[in-house]
């Protein structure tokens, strides 16, 4: 068992899609939000929308840590790296995200030492191998990624590696979901819950969504069968008028979460009183900062940071797309001023941003394909 191909098995996918069509009440229009950008990416990559009946609408949520990062934070990180002998290390996802004076890759073209890392531990390794330089790790991600940053900081402290610091932009998922539910334009019926965040926080934190807000939520994996099975489970709940938290991704998500990961996070991080989310505004208790015990490895303590707020161009409708109020194609800049080649907002840069996904995978399919899929059968 390799745990990937088995969950992409075509016959099982077809059968599950048939079950979805059987369960979907033709009198209803279902709006399911997938919170996590990774789910958005999977849905497009596997062409899953083609398998759903037209009365099931998938609305893309704000669970894309690159998309919700305000431009000012990118500027701040890059301004630290502009100092001599600093290496800017970040995940590949960050490299093309525009700051006011260009993206990290564009800064690299102008001479900044910018490195792509796959892991925060690789950034720490860079620090070990470059004792005369300072490595700045630009940390992003929800609770899936934060524990790895935490553990890396613990290792840096234990080994006394002083030429390393983290610029922390970790955010938490529950306030993002709350912002969606509190939004006056919100018309979501149920949620496809974030599978990998849940390996850390477990399924309990979603209880209020079902109990207080009355919305079913199924914590889902990322393979085609995972997402389709989650939709089956949501439909069953809705048809039976149930509202509960279910775990579809049992093979990986423990109901109680990962204690070791939560402990590492608690050791290193605390909640910021508030943090600005691109498109969603200031949200309290929604982001992590490094505790004082680790302040020597906190870039915001080691360096002075401009902290300038950069507002998005007025015409960009990133916020409404993030909340699922607008589809990417409804933003006035989509496909014109804003494309993956010259993105205005981060939703067009991040590979799991709904605008980029829609642009790369979808928008030219349009009406031309109705003849095509007819012929293919």
């Amino acid at each position: 068992m390799r745990y990937v191909d088995e969950f992409r098995e075509p016959q099982l996918i077809t059968r599950t899609a048939d079950e979805i069509r059987r369960l979907a009440d033709p009198q209803r229009h279902y709006r399911f939000m997938e919170v996590c950008g990774g789910h958005t990416h999977s849905i497009y990559r596997f062409g899953l929308k083609d398998l759903l009946p037209s009365n099931i609408e998938l609305v893309h949520g704000p669970g894309c840590p690159v998309c919700v990062l305000p431009m000012g934070r990118i500027d701040d990180g890059l301004s630290i790296a502009e100092q001599p002998d600093v290496i800017f290390a970040a995940f590949g996802d960050m490299m093309r995200v525009p700051g006011t004076r260009g993206s990290p890759l564009e800064h690299k073209a102008r001479g900044m030492d910018v490195r792509i890392v796959y892991s925060p531990s690789d950034a720490l390794k860079l620090a070990r191998h470059n004792p005369t330089k300072h490595v700045l790790f630009f940390a992003i991600g929800f609770e899936t990624t934060a524990p790895s940053t935490a553990l890396t900081l613990m290792r840096a402290k234990a080994e006394g590696i002083r030429n390393f610091s983290v610029f922390c932009n970790h955010v938490t998922i529950i306030p993002a979901i709350r912002a969606i539910l509190d939004s006056p334009d919100m018309r979501i019926d149920a949620f496809i819950g974030p599978g990998h965040v849940s390996t850390v926080i477990g399924c309990r934190p979603y209880g209020w969504i079902a109990n207080n807000e009355g919305k079913p939520i199924v914590v889902a994996g990322f393979e085609p069968l995972d997402i389709l099975q989650s939709i089956v489970m949501l439909l069953r709940q809705m048809n039976d008028d149930e509202k509960k938290v279910e775990n579809q991704y049992k093979r990986v998500v423990p109901w109680e979460g990962n204690r070791g990961a939560l402990k590492a996070m608690a050791e290193v991080f605390e909640l910021r009183p508030y943090f600005e989310w691109r498109g969603l505004g200031f949200i309290s208790q929604s982001a992590l900062r490094i505790k004082e015990a680790y302040s020597e490895w906190d870039a915001e303590c080691r360096f002075s940071v401009p902290g300038v707020r950069v507002t998005d161009p007025k015409a960009a409708q990133c916020g409404e797309v993030l909340k699922g109020v607008l589809k990417p194609v409804q933003c006035k800049l989509f496909g014109k001023e804003c494309t993956p080649e010259h993105p205005v907002g981060a939703l067009m840069v991040s590979s799991e941003g709904s605008c980029a996904a829609y642009y790369s995978y979808e928008h030219r399919k349009a009406a031309q394909l109705t003849q095509l899929t007819g012929a293919a059968c």
Partner: protein
Amino acid sequence: MCLAIPGKIIELLAEDRDLAVVDILGVRRRVDLGLLLDDPPTTGDWVLIHVGFAMSKISEMDALDQLRMLTDIGETQAALEEVQGYGSS
């Protein structure tokens, strides 16, 4: 948020008990097991890997259960339709 992929532990590193070599379809990488110390995985276990860290052990039993459930969907439906077919004359 969040690209994570299953891999099989093929070697625990002697010099650092928290590190293991994991195999993903023939690609090998060192992975940090530091988040799973409560119930450490061992050689032959499958783990979910995200940014070079093991996030969770993968349960073969749950995976097989899930696949069985999915296989049953179609079969149950086919069986139901067959039964309904008998009743319609």
